[in-house]
């Protein structure tokens, strides 16, 4: 039983690390991209540009957070 539980916990940890990693902001950025693009599509507005804009903004923000976190740890 404990072996199965260990497997379930390991499985959950893997997916947590894969999706959230050490900053939840990346996953949130992806959700914002999907939600925003869906909204633009509903309004019949071209949405292809929205993805790269949100992803680059998310990348810049998460890098800044990573640097600040590192400086805090030191």
């Amino acid at each position: 039983m404990s072996r199965i539980w260990g497997w379930i916990v390991g499985f959950g940890r893997f997916w947590y690390g894969f999706i959230i990693g050490d900053d939840w902001l990346a996953a949130t950025g992806v959700l914002v991209m999907l939600g925003g693009a869906y909204g633009l599509l509903q309004l019949d507005v071209p949405a292809w540009w929205f993805g790269p804009v949100v992803i680059l903004a998310t990348a810049a923000w998460t890098i800044r957070r990573g640097l600040i976190r590192r400086s805090g740890h030191d």
Binding site: A26, A27, V30, L41, P46, A47, W48, I55, G66, S71
Partner: protein
């Protein structure tokens, strides 16, 4: 979808089928539709190229053992789906599959993006951090690297499904439009041609991928990780939005400018971080941690 039925048999004089004495092979070849075969080869090549890029990229950066396991598992699931559904493959909501797989690739690609920029800004493209050494040691111990497994699995499954859709679409069109009677297989020979075209794409692009892998072995690991992180983000953005129904200008060619944009942004961000314009500079952080 209407296709030209330019068949190999049309190019041959009548009555030459028995010349070789191998009627079975000759009949199959004679029934192939060249237009379907070439069309499927070209269309499949685009999807297979995407698959090979992901597999080679992940294998080169995370190790081949787990990447092969992931690719093999993806292929087995793909074959099982095709065997179970056959021509009813179109029932699969490919848009939803693209959104899920694209979003997962993008989330992971963004994590590599962040780590890559911070680490590379700190000590260049060829250095290694404790984190990276631990990752390499983990792979060397022989345990499965589930990250490599999942990335390869998803790449093979999604692109394999897209190739299967192409085979069904071209195969059905090829048989239906020709005016030749094929019974149940109104499209039977179309499917054979489409299958051979897709198989040829796998062999051809796979061989190019094997050659590219040799060249990639010369590239430093972190540089490679940087490039693959950009690739995962590119494919992730493209697939996730395509799954929602977004039309990319230029179709699959958008992958090229999207990748260039992400790489360009990465270098810009790295310089900004290095200059300390983005909060504490990594060089200062490194110096502080060494005190």
């Amino acid at each position: 979808m209407g296709f030209d039925e330019t068949r190999v048999c049309d190019a041959q004089p009548r009555g030459t089928d028995s010349i070789s004495g191998n009627d079975g092979v000759h009949t199959v070849i004679a029934s192939l539709s060249i237009s379907v075969l070439i069309g499927t080869f070209v269309a499949s090549s685009v999807e297979v190229t995407e698959m090979v890029i992901i597999v080679v990229g992940v294998g080169s950066t995370r190790g081949w053992r787990s990447t092969w396991f992931g690719s093999g598992a993806g292929f087995i699931v793909l074959v099982a789906i095709i065997a179970a559904l056959g021509q009813a493959l179109s029932l699969i909501p490919i848009g939803t599959v693209r959104i899920v797989i694209g979003a997962l690739l993008l989330t992971f690609g963004l994590q590599w993006f962040r780590q890559g920029v911070i680490q590379t800004a700190a000590d260049g493209f060829t250095g290694t951090t404790e984190e990276e050494e631990a990752e390499a040691a983990e792979g060397a111990e022989g345990a499965i690297d589930w990250t490599a497994f999942v990335l390869a699995f998803k790449g093979v499954l999604l692109e394999g499904l897209e190739v299967a859709f192409i085979v069904v679409a071209f195969g059905a069109g090829g048989g239906a439009g020709g005016g030749h009677g094929f019974g149940i297989g109104a499209g039977h020979s179309g499917y054979e041609s489409a299958f051979i075209g897709a198989a040829a794409a796998f062999i051809f692009i796979g061989a190019l991928g094997a050659l590219a892998n040799r060249q990639l072995q010369e590239v430093p690991g972190r540089t490679l990780k940087f490039g693959v992180g950009g690739l995962l983000s590119t494919f992730g953005t493209f697939w996730a939005l395509e799954g929602l129904g977004v039309h990319w200008p230029g179709g699959d060619l958008s992958l090229a400018w999207l990748y260039a944009l992400y790489l360009g942004a990465t270098f810009t961000l790295m310089r900004t971080v290095r200059a300390g314009l983005f909060g504490p500079s990594p060089a200062k952080l490194q110096a502080r941690s060494q005190q």
